[in-house]
Amino acid sequence: MSSNREHAVKDIIEILTDMSPPRPVFVSREPFDLDKLALTQFPALLVTAGNETREDHAMGGSRRGIIEINIRGFVRSDGRKGFVQSVDEKRNNLIERIEEALNTTRDRRLDDAQAATTHVTSIEVIDRTPPLGEFLLIAEVHYSFTKGEL
């Protein structure tokens, strides 16, 4: 038994951990306490599988699903470097890099028969007291599957 939701989240985490800078230093699937992160662990990402809709799309048990992958990002504008970027700039750069990384391979490396694709559908900026910045990026993974246990 293999979970497509699980597979999609693992693939996204692997890609986000390995993307070119600005690369998140800390990527987790478990909720974490921001206060316990080191200064050097920013930017940090929390990646979780969210809501999903499923429906039949052909006869013969063929179905499709749309999973929402929630990517919550945290940046800090302070640091030990002489040049300090603003929170807004860091947040925008990170969002851009995440979308580019997700678009590199949009099928989430699911099987061909599952015909997956990925779209970033929304970005919500969450108010935080500076120097912290936060956003919630939702990426939808569309995929097909056949009902029943494989």
Partner: protein, 151 residues
């Protein structure tokens, strides 16, 4: 070959997850900590040791600096780890917000431990192979003073 007082493995004995905070390599910090330990010994131990070896009037004509390769590395490993954690590693991880975070508290803890450890080393006697014989004799690890009043 230059002496090495501590490695990242030694530091991981005290903080096993220290390389998980975004800085994978602390070799530069360990080198700085080692040099700081040597400097503290030059300040706090070497003058008293020199006075024990040479006549005061000849102090400036004798060996003016200790040879760092003649220390016993294992004696200074713990102090170097505390030095590195307290003065070089945790300051990089701490956020220095209004409220102290875990890393700032650990920084202060290791600074105190370093002071305590160095003090114990000095009271126990710094092991220094003065005659370069390859072994540290009893006379080469004696404490240089015994809490005497120094004026």
């Amino acid at each position: 070959m230059a002496i090495t007082l501590a490695t990242i493995s030694d530091i991981q004995e005290y903080e096993p997850d220290i390389i998980d905070f975004g800085i994978p390599d602390f070799s530069a910090e360990i080198t700085k900590a080692q040099n700081d330990v040597f400097r503290d010994l030059r300040i706090r131990w070497w003058p008293a040791y020199s006075v024990g070896l040479y006549d005061l009037s000849k102090l400036n004509t004798g060996q003016t600096e200790p040879d760092e390769n003649l220390y016993t590395a294992s004696q200074l490993t713990r102090a170097t780890c505390y030095q590195a954690l307290g003065f070089h590693i945790y300051p990089k991880l701490a956020k220095f917000d209004v409220d102290q975070d875990l890393f700032e508290r650990k920084m202060e803890f290791y600074r105190k431990e370093y002071a305590r450890e160095l003090d114990l080393i000095l009271r126990d006697g710094v092991e220094y192979d003065f005659d370069s014989s390859g072994t540290v004799d009893a006379g080469e690890r004696e404490a240089t003073h015994y809490l005497r009043l120094k004026r």
